[in-house]
């Protein structure tokens, strides 16, 4: 499942995938994989991303019932 909330939060901060990846210490492909739903990050990485994007875990990673 695509994580569009992460993508929009990143765009709102005017960060590229590479910039966000550098800030949280992962590769660009990892950020891309999270956004397109190919990889489920650990809670550690989720928290790191949330801190950089100044969002809560719920806002970025909580799965809503479809």
């Amino acid at each position: 499942m695509k994580n569009l909330r992460l993508k929009s939060a990143r765009a709102a901060k005017d960060l590229s995938q590479q910039a966000l990846a550098d800030l949280v210490g992962v590769s660009r492909q990892t950020i891309n994989s999270i956004e397109i739903g190919n990889y489920n990050p650990t809670i550690k990485l989720c928290v790191a991303i949330c801190k950089v994007l100044e969002k809560s875990l719920d806002e970025l990673f909580w799965l809503e019932d479809e």
Binding site: S16, Q17, A21, G25, V26, S27, R28, Q29, T30, N32, S33, I36, Y39, P41, T42, K44, L45
Partner: protein
């Protein structure tokens, strides 16, 4: 002892090479210049784990086939060559799987550096092989000798380089196209 049976001289170059590489890795590790697990992110570590798994089972598969052929009397190479071909097969499976999962090089390493090493390795092994081929040392008594390992190395590195280039090209696409 003939060439088709175990010979210490067949193993000696590999043993010396492994020992030197082992010592080099220890020195690099001590000096902190060796790529450590910490330079791969969590997704890459998962990918490398899968790559090790596939390489492990590929090596088992190869050993079963090699052992079976040997048991039924199909001899095609010296025992040392059979072992090295299996190792190279496993290494290739590992590398290709790791590349496909973006887990071959660390997050701070550059593609160009890794490519240069691989291309240099492929070219050097190709030269070694053709040098031995010209000397007629590749096949003795109907069995492939250790010179054949050079060809296997060249093929192994070439496959890795090709997969690496294709994957790098894909990764150069703009973010939105992935």
């Amino acid at each position: 002892m003939n060439d088709s049976t175990f010979s210490m001289m067949d193993w000696l170059p590999f043993a010396v090479a492994f020992f030197l590489v082992f010592v080099l890795l220890i020195i690099l590790r001590i000096k902190g210049k060796l790529m450590t697990e910490g330079e791969y992110d969590e997704r890459q570590l998962v990918g490398r784990g899968k790559a090790y798994q596939y390489a492990f089972f590929s090596l088992i598969f190869y050993n079963v086939i090699y052992g079976y052929l040997d048991a039924v009397g199909v001899k095609w190479c010296l025992p040392s060559v059979g072992v090295m071909v299996g190792v190279l097969f496993g290494v290739t499976v590992f590398a290709v799987t790791a590349i496909c999962r973006d887990a071959f090089i660390g997050i701070h390493d550059t593609h160009k550096r890794s490519l240069r090493i691989l291309i240099a390795g492929a070219l050097a092994q190709t030269v070694f092989f053709f040098s031995d081929l010209a000397d007629g040392e590749v096949v003795k008594d109907g069995l492939l000798t250790t010179s054949f390992v050079s060809l296997c190395c060249a093929v192994c590195f070439s496959v890795i380089v090709i997969v690496f280039l294709i994957h790098s090209r894909k990764n150069r696409l703009p973010e939105e196209q992935e």
